[in-house]
C-alpha cells in the first residue's frame, strides 16, 4: 500500500484563527439543533451564559496547554508529559469517546436528514454517504484538515443570519422573554445545565491536534472569542425559538431550530430549510473527518507509531467508526431511546471529557513544572 503522510506538518503559519474556528464549529455541532427544546423557559437563557463562563474556565486550562512548549512538539511533547504508557492509556480511553461522538452526531444528523429532506430513504444511507465523503476529506491529512476549517466556518456561519427575521416579526413581544429570573420554586434544571455544558464541549479534542495548530501564547484570546461567538449563537437561536414558539409550545417540538427553517421563504424556494440542513452538513462532515483522523492517530499510538501512515489504515479507521455507527442506528436508536439514553450518554460523556481532559493536562503541566524545577 502506498505510503501517505496524513500527519505531516509543512507550514509554520501561526494563526490562532484555526483554533477559533475549530472551537466554535465543534461547539455548534449538534446541540444547536436540539438545545431550544431543552431550554424552554426564558430564565434558562441565563444557563447559556453561565455555562459559557464555565466553558471559559475549561478553555483557560486548555490555553495553558497551548502555551507550553509540549503542545508544539506533538508526540514528543505528550511523551515528556505523560510518558509512553500514559499516552497509550489516554489513546485507549479516547477511542470509545471518539466513536461515541462520531456515532451520536452522524445518527442525529442522519435522522434530521431523513425526517426533513428524504423521508423515503433509509437513515443508514444518510450515514454511509457522508462517511464516504468524510473519509475523502480525511485523506488530505491533518494539516489540510486544520486549514479547511476556515472554509467550513465561512460555509456555515451565514445560516444563523437567516434566522434574523424571527426577531422582526410584529407579533413578537419582549414579554415572551420574561421572566429572566424564575419566580417561585422551580424544579432544579440540572439536566438542562448539563446539556448546555455538554454542548460547549468538543474543544478538548484540540489537544490532540495542537501540533498542527502552531500553538502560541495568545491562544486564550482566540479561544475566548470562539466561546463568546458560540454563546452568542446559542442565545440568538434560543431567543428566536422562544419568540417564535413561546415557552408553552416549545417543549412539544423535537427540532425547533429546524422546524423554524420551514417558515423561512424566498421568492425562488419555499422550503429553504432543505438547503439549510444540507449546508449544515459541511460542519458534520468536517467533524467526522477530523474525528476519523484522530481515531487513526490514536490507534497508531497503541500500535507502531514509527511506521508510515497508509491509505488502508485510514479506511480501516473510517470503517471502524461506521461499523459502530450503523448497528447503533439500525438496532439501538429507537424513538424515545435516542433522547433518553443516547442523548444522556453523550451529554455525560461530553461534559466529563470537557471538564476532565483540560484538568488532567493542566495537572500534568503543573506536576511536570514542579519536578523539573
Amino acid at each position: 500500500m502506498q505510503a501517505i503522510s496524513l500527519f505531516r506538518k509543512t507550514s509554520h503559519q501561526e494563526s490562532g484563527f484555526y483554533a477559533l474556528f475549530l472551537t466554535n464549529r465543534i461547539q455548534m455541532l449538534y446541540y444547536m439543533i436540539v438545545m431550544p427544546s431543552a431550554l424552554v423557559q426564558p430564565y434558562m437563557l441565563l444557563a447559556i451564559v453561565a455555562m459559557g463562563i464555565a466553558s471559559q474556565f475549561c478553555l483557560y486550562m486548555l490555553s495553558k496547554w497551548f502555551a507550553t512548549p509540549y503542545a508544539a512538539q506533538g508526540y514528543q511533547g505528550f511523551e515528556k508529559l505523560f510518558g509512553k504508557r500514559g499516552i497509550k492509556i489516554l489513546a485507549l480511553a479516547s477511542l470509545p469517546l471518539l466513536l461515541l461522538k462520531i456515532s451520536f452526531i452522524s445518527i442525529s444528523y442522519a435522522e434530521i436528514m431523513q425526517q426533513f429532506v428524504f423521508p423515503s430513504m433509509d437513515r443508514e444511507w444518510h450515514i454511509v454517504f457522508p462517511f464516504i465523503l468524510s473519509c475523502y476529506l480525511a485523506l488530505f491529512g491533518m494539516e489540510n484538515m486544520v486549514r479547511f476549517v476556515t472554509i467550513v466556518f465561512i460555509g456555515t456561519i451565514w445560516i444563523f443570519f437567516l434566522y434574523t427575521p424571527y426577531f422582526l416579526v410584529q407579533s413578537n413581544s419582549i414579554h415572551d422573554l420574561y421572566p429572566l429570573i424564575p419566580i417561585g420554586p422551580e424544579p432544579f434544571a440540572w439536566k438542562s445545565l448539563l446539556l448546555v455544558f455538554s454542548s460547549f464541549s468538543g474543544p478538548e479534542f484540540l489537544i490532540a491536534i495542537s501540533y498542527w495548530l502552531n500553538p502560541q501564547r495568545k491562544m486564550l484570546k482566540y479561544l475566548t472569542i470562539a466561546n463568546a461567538i458560540s454563546v452568542g449563537e446559542y442565545l440568538f437561536i434560543s431567543i428566536a425559538s422562544l419568540l417564535f414558539y413561546g415557552s408553552k409550545y416549545l417543549p412539544t417540538i423535537k427540532y425547533p431550530n429546524v422546524e423554524m427553517g420551514r417558515y423561512l421563504q424566498s421568492p425562488v424556494f419555499e422550503r429553504v430549510d432543505i438547503i439549510l440542513i444540507s449546508a449544515y452538513s459541511f460542519s458534520f462532515l468536517y467533524s467526522i473527518a477530523l474525528f476519523v483522523l484522530m481515531i487513526y492517530g490514536a490507534s497508531r499510538l497503541l500500535g507502531k507509531t514509527k511506521t508510515n501512515t497508509t491509505l488502508i489504515g485510514l479506511i480501516v479507521s473510517g470503517c471502524a467508526a461506521m461499523a459502530v455507527t450503523l448497528p447503533i442506528s439500525k438496532w439501538f436508536w429507537e424513538p424515545g431511546l435516542e433522547q433518553s439514553f443516547w442523548l444522556d450518554l453523550q451529554m455525560w460523556a461530553g461534559s466529563a471529557t470537557y471538564l476532565l481532559v483540560p484538568l488532567l493536562v493542566w495537572i500534568a503541566i503543573k506536576r511536570k513544572a514542579r519536578t523539573t524545577s
Binding site: F118, F269, E270, S281
Partner: protein, 474 residues
C-alpha cells in the same frame, strides 16, 4: 565528446536541403568555411555583417575582424550542432583550426497583437507572441530593473525548447524559485510544443481538473504578478506565459479589475464567482428540484415547470444530459469550424436547441432558459481553462443531484472544496488566503479594494519585501 571536423558535420547534415557550406578567403589570406541552415538564419545580416566585413578584413582572426558580433568558441561536435540548429553560423578557420559560432537567428515573427483570450476594453492592448526574446522585452519595458532575473533552461530531447524563468530577485520568496528550478531541471520528456506541456510536467497534481499555473498572454498581467512576488515562465514558440504560484482566486481576477473603479471591480468580481457556481450547479439544481424536491418550489413556479415538463418523455436527468451534451457539441464545433461557417452554426444551434428541441418534446422551455444562463455564466470566468473545467464539474454535480438531490449538490461542493484545499501550486496552498487564512489579503479577494489600501504585497506569497509603498511615507 566528438571533436569537430568538416567531414563529421557534412555527414550529420546529409539530406538537409537547406544546409549551406561555403568557403571564403579574406584579403589577408585567411581561409574560412561557413556552415549554416539557410532557413534558420538571417541571410541578409550574414552577408552584410559577417561575410563582407570578413572578406575585406586585414585582421588575422575572426574575433578581431568582427568586433561587434557575439562569437562563441566551440569545443565539440554536439555543441556545434546545437548552435547550428538554433540559428548560428559556424565558422571554421582552417589556418588555426578553430571552430566558432555566431548567432544570427531569423527574426521571423508576427507583430504584436491584441490578446484574444483575455480581451479588455481599457488598458494595454499588447500581447505575447511566439518570439521568446520579444516576450521578455515586453516585460523588461514594464519592469526596467536589474533585479528582474531571467534564467534559461532547455527542455525536450527532440524539441530542445528554451524555457526562461523570470522573477524579481530580492522580492520573491526564494523557496518558489528553488522549487521551480528543481522542477524545470528534472523535466524529462521529448517534446514541448506549448507552455501547457511544460505546465503539465511542473504541476504538483496533474490529475486535477484545476490548472495550477496561470497561462496568460498579457504582459501587463505578468508584470503585475512579478511585482507582487510570483514568478513567470516563458516557453519558446508559445504566446502564453506561465505564472506561479497561483490560487483558485487568481483565476477569477481580470487585468481589468485594476483598471475599473474599485467599487465597480468589487461588484464584478463576486459576480464572476457567482457565475462559476451557477455554471456548475444551475442545471443540477433544476434536476434536483424536479426529481426530488418539488415541495421546495413556490406554487407559481411549480405550475410553470409542471406545464413545461408535462409532455416530456424523458426524466429530468436525461433531459438535462442531452441538452448539455448538445450544447457542448455546438460550443466545440464553433471553435473548430472556419470563422465564416461558425456563424451559421450559431443560428442552427439556436434553432435546434431553442425551438426544435422544445417542440419535439426533448426538453422543457425552463431547462432551455437555464441552459442558456448556465452557458453564458461560464464565459464570465476570465480563465479559459477554468471554463473548460466547469463543464466536467457540471456533469458530476448533475449525477449527484439526480441521486441525492440538494444534499447531493452540497456533498459535491464539500468534495470540491476539499479537493481544492488539498491542491498546491509550486507547493503553495491553492485556496490561500482563505485556507490558509491570511485575513490581510482579503482586501483583494472577493472584492477588489482601493489600490491605496493594498499597501502590502499578498501575505500568502511571503515576499521578501512585503511593502508596496515607501516605508518613510507610511
Amino acid at each position: 565528446m566528438t571533436t569537430i571536423s568538416l567531414e563529421a558535420l557534412k555527414q550529420r547534415l546529409a539530406l538537409i536541403e537547406d544546409a549551406e557550406i561555403i568557403d571564403r578567403e579574406t584579403t589577408d589570406g585567411l581561409r574560412l568555411t561557413f556552415i549554416y541552415l539557410g532557413t534558420l538564419i538571417d541571410q541578409e545580416r550574414l552577408n552584410e555583417s559577417i561575410l563582407v566585413p570578413l572578406v575585406r578584413s586585414f585582421q588575422s582572426s575572426v574575433e578581431k575582424s568582427l568586433t561587434t558580433a557575439k562569437i562563441t568558441r566551440l569545443s565539440n561536435l554536439e555543441q556545434a550542432l546545437q548552435y547550428l540548429m538554433k540559428g548560428s553560423v559556424l565558422v571554421h578557420d582552417s589556418s588555426s583550426g578553430r571552430w566558432q559560432a555566431i548567432m544570427l537567428p531569423n527574426s521571423l515573427s508576427r507583430s504584436i497583437e491584441t490578446s484574444e483570450t483575455e480581451t479588455i476594453m481599457f488598458g494595454p492592448k499588447d500581447s505575447f507572441s511566439e518570439q521568446l526574446e520579444q516576450n521578455i522585452l515586453l516585460i523588461r519595458r514594464r519592469l526596467p530593473l536589474t533585479a528582474l532575473k531571467t534564467e534559461r533552461y532547455s527542455v525536450g530531447s527532440l524539441t530542445q525548447t528554451t524555457v526562461v524563468l523570470m522573477y524579481i530577485d530580492g522580492l520573491i520568496n526564494p523557496e518558489f524559485v528553488a522549487v521551480a528550478k528543481n522542477k524545470l531541471s528534472s523535466i524529462d520528456f521529448d517534446m514541448f510544443l506549448d507552455s501547457s506541456h511544460v505546465a503539465a510536467f511542473m504541476e504538483d497534481h496533474y490529475h486535477s481538473i484545476f490548472p495550477q499555473y496561470l497561462q496568460t498572454d498579457r504582459p501587463d498581467s505578468c508584470a503585475y504578478s512579478l511585482g507582487i512576488g510570483k514568478l513567470v515562465i516563458f516557453v519558446n514558440n508559445t504566446p502564453f506565459a506561465l505564472v506561479a504560484p497561483i490560487t483558485l482566486f487568481h483565476l477569477f481576477q481580470s487585468p481589468e479589475d485594476y483598471i475599473n473603479r474599485w467599487l465597480v471591480a468589487s461588484f464584478l468580481r463576486p459576480l464572476r464567482y457567482l457565475s462559476f457556481l451557477l455554471s456548475i450547479t444551475l442545471i443540477p439544481i433544476y434536476v434536483a428540484l424536479t426529481t426530488h424536491h418539488y415541495q421546495m418550489l413556490p406554487l407559481q413556479i411549480l405550475y410553470v415547470i409542471i406545464e413545461s415538463r408535462s409532455k416530456l418523455p424523458l426524466s429530468p436527468f436525461w433531459e438535462a444530459f442531452i441538452i448539455l451534451i448538445t450544447l457542448e457539441i455546438i460550443k466545440e464545433a464553433s471553435l473548430r469550424m472556419p470563422t465564416k461557417t461558425s456563424q451559421n452554426l450559431g443560428v442552427i444551434g439556436g434553432i435546434v436547441i431553442g425551438q426544435a428541441a422544445v417542440e419535439a418534446g426533448f426538453a422543457s422551455k425552463v431547462l432551455i432558459v437555464l441552459a442558456g444562463i448556465s452557458a453564458i455564466s461560464t464565459f464570465l470566468v476570465p480563465n479559459y481553462l477554468v471554463t473548460k473545467s466547469s463543464l466536467l464539474l457540471q456533469f458530476i454535480f448533475l449525477i449527484l443531484a439526480t441521486y441525492l438531490g440538494i444534499p447531493g449538490i452540497l456533498l459535491g461542493l464539500v468534495g470540491m472544496f476539499a479537493h481544492l484545499n488539498g491542491l498546491t501550486s509550486l507547493n503553495q496552498p491553492y485556496l490561500a488566503p482563505v485556507s490558509p487564512f491570511y485575513w490581510r489579503d482579503w482586501v483583494d479577494l472577493f472584492v477588489r479594494g482601493p489600490l491605496h489600501a493594498m499597501r502590502i504585497r499578498p501575505e500568502a506569497l511571503r515576499p521578501l519585501n512585503k511593502y508596496r509603498i515607501s516605508r518613510r511615507s507610511k
